[in-house]
C-alpha cells in the first residue's frame, strides 16, 4: 500500500493552505491524524503526528505576522521510510530569532535530556513561556526538526519521523 504513494521527495500527500487562525488547528490536526492512521494502519505514528501537528500549528498561528501575506501552508509527505510534516509561515522577526536559538540549542542535546531540561526551565521560570513544544516533538513524538528560511521571508519548519 505504501509503495503506491507518491514519493515523499516530490508531491506531498496532503497540502493545505489557510489563514493563521486558531479555529483551523483542531480540524487540520484531526484530519491529518486520521489520514496518517489510515495510511499506515498504526495508532502510534498517528498519535505522534498529532503531537507534531498541534505544536507546529500552534507556533505558526501564535507567531505569524498579521496581514495578507501570512497564510500558512502545511504539507505532509509519507512513504514507508519516513513521515514529514512541514509548516510554512511568516513569523514575526523576534520570534524567528528565538526559534532559531532554541532549535540550535535543542538539537545539540539528546531528545530526552532536552525535554527534562525544558521541564526544569519551566519549573524555575514560572512567569516565562514554557517553550516545551519543540522538545516535546523530539522526545515524545520522536521527530527531528529543521528550519528553512525562504527568499520571500517565510520560514518552513519541517518535522521528520520514522513510521
Amino acid at each position: 500500500m505504501i509503495s503506491t504513494l507518491p514519493s515523499s521527495a516530490n508531491e506531498p500527500l496532503i497540502f493545505l493552505r489557510f489563514r493563521p487562525a486558531w479555529a483551523y488547528i483542531d480540524g487540520v490536526r484531526e484530519f491529518c491524524r486520521f489520514f496518517c492512521q489510515a495510511t499506515y494502519r498504526q495508532e502510534d505514528i498517528a498519535e505522534r503526528a498529532r503531537v507534531v501537528l498541534q505544536e507546529t500549528l500552534e507556533n505558526a498561528v501564535k507567531y505569524s505576522t498579521p496581514g495578507q501575506l501570512s497564510e500558512l501552508e502545511l504539507e505532509v509527505h509519507a512513504d514507508k521510510d519516513s513521515f514529514r510534516i512541514s509548516i510554512t509561515s511568516r513569523p514575526d522577526p523576534q520570534h524567528l530569532k528565538t526559534l532559531k536559538e532554541e532549535l540550535s540549542h535543542l538539537t545539540r542535546l539528546d531528545p530526552e535530556a532536552a525535554y527534562v531540561a525544558a521541564f526544569y526551565r519551566a519549573a524555575n521560570e514560572p512567569d516565562a513561556p514554557a517553550r516545551l513544544g519543540l522538545a516535546r516533538m523530539r522526545f515524545e513524538a520522536r521527530f527531528e526538526l529543521h528550519l528553512d528560511e525562504q527568499a520571500d521571508g517565510r520560514v518552513c519548519i519541517t518535522a521528520t519521523g520514522k513510521p
Binding site: 505504501i2 489563514r19 520571500d152
Partner: protein
Amino acid sequence: MTKVDAIPSRAHAASGTVPTQRSSLINVTWDSSPDVEQFLAFISAYTRGRFSASLAERLTLASTELLDNAVRYGSLARDFTYRLEVDGNRAVVCVQNTTVRARVDMLTAQLRRLEASPEQVYAAELERSMAPGAGRRSMLGLARICHEAEMKLSLDVDGNEVSMRASCSR
C-alpha cells in the same frame, strides 16, 4: 487581487518571477478508498472558514458528489487525488482517479447531456433515483453539481486517468 492570489508559490518566490493567479488551497492524495465522510467534514469546516456560506455549501456539495463517484466507480490503481483551488476569480474542486474505459465513455456522454440541458437531466436523474430498486445514483450527483450548486463541470482524460472539475465564480 485577492489575498490568496497575492501569495506567491515557493518556486516563484525563489525564482523572483510573477506570482501565478492559480492558488492551491487543499491537495490530498490517498492510495486507497478514503474515508469520505471524515474528509468532507473537514472540507465543510474549511470552506465555511474561508468563503461565504453560500459558496462553502456549493463547494462542499461538489466535493461530496465528486468524491462519492470516484470512490464508488474508481479505480484501477485505487489512488485518488482531491484538489480545492482558486483560479483567478473561480473556485475549483477537482477529483482525479483511474477508472475503466467504459466509465470514462459514460461520463463523457453524461457531461454532454448536462451541458445541453442541465435542468432536464437533473429532473430525469432525480426521478430515476426515486424509482424502486433504483440502486446507483452516480449521474444524479453530477446533475446536482450543475443544477443545485450551479457549477460548471469539465472532464480531462489521459488514458484511464480521469480528472473531473467543478468550478464557479467566487
